[in-house]
Subunit: 342 residues, 2 copies
Amino acid sequence: MSDAVSRPTLEAVAARAGVSRATVSRVVNGGDGVREPLVERVRRAVEELGYVPNQAARSLVTRRHDAVAVVIAEPETRIFTDPFFALQLRGISKELTAHDNQLVLLLTEGRDDHARVARYLAGGHVDGALVFSLHLDDPLPGLIEGAGVPTVFGGRPGWSDGTDSAVYVDCDNRGGAEDAVRHLVGLGRTRIAHITGPLDQTSAADRLQGYRDVMGETDPRLVVASDFTPTGGERAMGELLDRCPDVDAVFAANDLTALGALRVLRERGRRVPEDVAVIGFDDVLPVAEQTEPPLTTVRQDIEEMGRLMARLLLSTLARGGPATGAPSSVVLPTTLIRRATA
Amino acid sequence: MSDAVSRPTLEAVAARAGVSRATVSRVVNGGDGVREPLVERVRRAVEELGYVPNQAARSLVTRRHDAVAVVIAEPETRIFTDPFFALQLRGISKELTAHDNQLVLLLTEGRDDHARVARYLAGGHVDGALVFSLHLDDPLPGLIEGAGVPTVFGGRPGWSDGTDSAVYVDCDNRGGAEDAVRHLVGLGRTRIAHITGPLDQTSAADRLQGYRDVMGETDPRLVVASDFTPTGGERAMGELLDRCPDVDAVFAANDLTALGALRVLRERGRRVPEDVAVIGFDDVLPVAEQTEPPLTTVRQDIEEMGRLMARLLLSTLARGGPATGAPSSVVLPTTLIRRATA
DNA sequence: CTGAAAGCGCTAACAT
DNA sequence: ATGTTAGCGCTTTCAG
């Protein structure tokens, strides 16, 4: 009820414990250099008064907030279809929590929101930022750079300038794609198609590159662009069947796309994997395990990537700025998970 | 880069504009009671220096943070399967953003995290809280009550004491369920089953109640408990078919459950809706529109519920505490969306 | 309408 | 090892 008024201050605790504010502060912040009996007395006073430090006052002097922003700049509705973000968020949340940091979520709905986000980051409300889903033409990285906030990106950023300086966590999209396609080749398939993701994202572009690495020059009609969604996958698969009725394998850019593709294949009476083998990417369990038949896919450890991003950022912050031997980007390996579709 | 050091202060702006700190503060906070020429001068100084107010310093004196916590206490993995939370988050985010408030996300993974959340809320880091997914035996509401932070709940809380005081936003689960079942009855179905959600959540309990309202006394074997997940829906549908092979309609507690049920029905060779009609609940588009056949379901406006929760909380905060004519809970209507399964 | 001054609650030198 | 003191950057009376 009437709380704000009555919150005890350091002063109050000090009075109660019969010590100075400084001593209480020391105890509250770890208790180093304070003798045991005093520590004990202060602890009790804190307990009795239900003292909780005022974060604003603390931040004002330490210039730290123990909070990091998570910026999700997905203009489209993918966030709401793909468990990807939720998983990543969970990893981030776990890691931040373990280090007593708070997660400030910044969702952007479009260009208009970019300025707001930039302003917020520049405002020094948070110690750092974790940024997702950049597209090639995204103005956000520039704005963030300008804000001067330590940042780790989720997925390799695609813009050209200053690429080296950007720290990111990604999975080996290209290598994973190569594995997938090689597997298809090993199965004896010869008309192997690829349904891409949005090619203005590096993850999609890299997977396409992996496909090309293995396939070399192929019938260009075997590559059809899509957008990481089930509906997009359906449309693309439809086109594919129309253009190349003899297709005998499909590497879909992600599991959701594969889901759509499977649906169309079934509708059109193609047996999977007998007539057409299918491989996805991500291994988002609720999707991949539940398709019919269960999806063979390239697994990336999404939650771990989230955790890693947070860890990287926190370690950067701990070193006091990106200057001191900044940690570098991490690219995690992928694994091909064989289920029933290939 | 080296930013924190160089961030200009009110003082700097004041100096540049040739006025006092107080005047700058007034202008920055709306400019009431400052004459136009001065306002203009100050604005320019702010612009030129790129001044951004220090939130910590401001909070220290105003005792406001312009931030609210969103607590998602979903012990299970539902968050990562069901677009429900993402949609709600989006609604909340939009509303908060519109009022210059920040969203602090608190994800809890289990009982251990409860204390942490309670401590955080009690710590006065945020002005209020939006809390989700309470189960009947959840200790969180009590802890939150204790923290003395204005709170709005997502979904009717189920615990018995002090229920009246809790403000929540929910949809008319019972009424929606009644509509669904009545529709099934109108279709001439007589063996209408219900696959429930987790009955320790009021949303699931209320939907079951709605089913009972219409069905009255029925074969108890027609009601089978589940958990809002596709896998749960599969299992439940399987049991149902074993126990009551003559079932001719199913009202599933949510769309994901319906998804699982549809899968099993297809596997077992039952035609939908000819042999068995199916209705879901939620109308989460990516799910409901994409089932085979498209799902008839009870729609609730999830994003709007999120927006409403935020609006309610903010208005409470604006009035300066829950005391002054606190806004009361809101229950939104539902609509039956007829697609192909019933 | 504007300025001067007093803190908000805390940490971090600096003394002791 | 503990206490004293000086702010962190801002808002808000209170004078003028």
